[in-house]
């Protein structure tokens, strides 16, 4: 009998696992090193170390250039996949070094990769129905450089099963934050804000999860435009807090049709990106820019509050909102939510042992563990897939 690497790791009571995540903001690679116990609903973890390896300006530009069909080149895409494999491997080595742990002690890596295309709507192509997605950051490089079993490329299998290839964090919310006593909303405020709704009765077959609308995307875009590129975001929400909401502008924004749509639903840059930001600037010529920021920040708050009131509370009063993602550092968003939803306990995911910035990277460490347990980890109610499937590709070390 040969030594079965995957089974050996799977059967350990305690595993050291690294989750690697790179977001669409193309800032760098988040690496979470965790101690992981169990799997599925029995999963428990402790965060050992979290680091972010920022991309150099030249790598960031190379990624952005090759994320755009007008500027991307085939040979560069081929190189970018291996280049980012090296960068992800470096991030994994870096987080272990900073934790003073030998990489040889690490059991498993889960790597999301960097998305450079996401085309989840099926279209007819030469007789086949084709939906697709493309993440780069070659896992063969990660596994070889680190010597660690690596699971990567989670999204394609859900697309194969007819899903959108996203979101996957609701499954992690379910196994980590489901409570037998409370109705909980797990709210992640990234570029787009999304929530997972967990009732005491939730099963992994009926969980509601959807995008509420913009998170930081509009705030970031407008901070950058209005400041002439001096700021890339509103640090701590200070600008929003120093301004006043413009009720007319807010009213016009609240007419956005996305807010009326019933879930399941998802959105992105096509609805709340550059074009929408242009329109806001166009209709806000006489408004001071701190007031514009205050208003778009309130728009994020209102769209979240409305989602809770309209789509969740009619059936289940919400006890607690657990916030994560970059937007949880924005005090104007947090205080806005507390004011708008006074009966709900609002807290950051740190209170539950999940640092707000590390949550997604931790999520992909947990998803990798599910894969080597051969456990399906997409939620069809969240992704739209026809069935639950085992996500990811397994690359052996060495």
């Amino acid at each position: 009998m040969i030594k079965d690497l995957i089974a050996e790791i799977r059967n350990k009571d305690e595993k050291l696992v690294i989750g690697l995540m790179a977001g669409t903001s193309v800032d760098g690679i988040d690496a979470a090193l965790i101690r992981l116990y169990g799997h599925g609903k029995e999963t428990r973890f402790e965060l050992v170390k979290f680091t972010t390896l920022e991309f150099s300006e030249s790598i960031r530009n190379f990624i952005l250039k090759n994320s755009n069909p007008d500027t991307a080149k085939l040979d560069d895409i081929c190189r970018l996949n291996f280049l980012l494999g090296e960068a992800f491997a470096s991030a994994a080595l870096d987080v272990t070094k900073k934790a003073d742990i030998d990489i040889a002690e690490v059991d498993l890596i889960g790597s999301h990769g960097q998305t450079i295309q996401h085309l989840p709507e099926a279209q007819k192509l030469y007789g086949f129905n084709v939906a697709s997605t493309l993440q780069v950051g070659e896992p063969s490089i990660i596994a070889h450089r680190t010597g660690v079993l690596t699971v990567a490329d989670f999204r394609p299998k859900d697309i194969a099963a007819g899903g959108q290839g996203a979101p996957f964090i609701p499954y992690v919310d379910y196994i980590l934050l489901h409570s037998p006593n409370e109705c909980r909303v797990c709210l992640n405020i990234g570029g787009i804000a999304n929530l997972t709704f967990l009732t005491p009765d939730s099963q992994n077959t009926d969980i509601i999860a959807f995008d509420t609308g913009p998170g930081n995307m509009l705030i970031d875009l407008l901070m950058s435009r209005l400041s002439g590129e001096r700021y890339r975001y509103d640090a701590g929400g200070e600008t929003a807090l120093s301004g006043t909401v413009d009720p007319k502008l807010l009213d016009r924004m609240m007419e956005h049709p996305y807010l009326e749509t019933d879930p399941p639903k998802s959105t992105g840059r096509e609805s709340f990106g550059s074009e929408y930001a242009d329109w806001i600037i166009e209709i806000s010529r006489n408004i001071e820019w701190k007031n514009i920021i205050a208003t778009v920040t309130r728009f994020t708050v209102e769209s979240i509050a409305l989602s809770v009131e309209k789509h969740l509370e009619p059936n289940h009063p919400v006890d607690r909102i657990i916030i994560s993602g970059g937007g949880s550092h924005n005090k104007a968003i947090i205080s806005g939510l507390e004011e708008r939803l006074p009966l709900i306990h609002i807290e950051k995911s740190d209170e539950m042992g999940i640092p707000v910035d590390a949550k997604e990277a931790i999520g992909f460490a947990i998803l990798a563990n599910e894969t080597i347990h051969y456990s399906p980890s997409n939620l069809p109610t969240a992704t739209g897939a026809r069935k639950k499937v085992i996500l990811g590709k397994i690359v052996l070390p060495g």
Copy 2:
């Protein structure tokens, strides 16, 4: 304990395995369904069925467009990966159907994918040494559509280990065709011709394998150009057999520096492609085109014979040459080799139970089996890798 899918398949005495191969000629997908016994040096197999699913003209053009950095587009590359995933899955379903076997009985699929870029020479890029390769034909689609454990994407791990990501068939030659009594040359005549040299003493650490020069590439290119695109190849070598070798043209071709280079060496379209064909046409204005074809066909024969005489025979007299690949249907090549190397027994791989056209697809079925046995299957002496590594990515069914 969970049911361990990979271990269960690995431990079967007899497996049904499909190998899927698509070559750089972009004709279609070869599918070999085999009954496989054992692994490593103990591997034995029987071919159950071999089929080729030809690409439609529109898919072929879509692949060719997206294999060229000047015409490829990011969004189309993203779609092509999933489109070819569907095509590879169809090829797997088709070969089982034609064999009258239920796909549910198949244990494993090994898929090479379609290469759309291969950049194995490392270059400095933003502080990293980057060599790369890109095969498309999403294995998540193959595994989901067929419900069969799939191993794919073999080349990146060898590149990670510093190799060229090719060739991998020499390992298959070693485990299937190594003899304790004879010195054997396994000669594959595809676009490029390559050989694996196996002596009775060969270990998987010292096997010589290299490209001898052009196989069919020049013959195909010149048939197509000289016939005004009427023919894409010289069927059976009939044109070459009807012509006469032009000694002056042959002499000039024999001056090609590649023939002088010592192995390990590899070549491709950059040396024996369109530009070289242009040069031949340029210097052959007064030569009848059947004689040009006879001469370039003889060039393939001479470059193979010279490789045997110059690089192999000084150390080990060769007993047998076992030929596979499309070029083995070319009677002018076969009779040419018999004439040039009269002391060596020359035969097609069919004589060894390996149909000449099915060999590569069978090879990737065998390589997938090595991967699920966690056996390294690159040969550093053939690929240039620093070490032996386990190739491929494993995608679970469902």
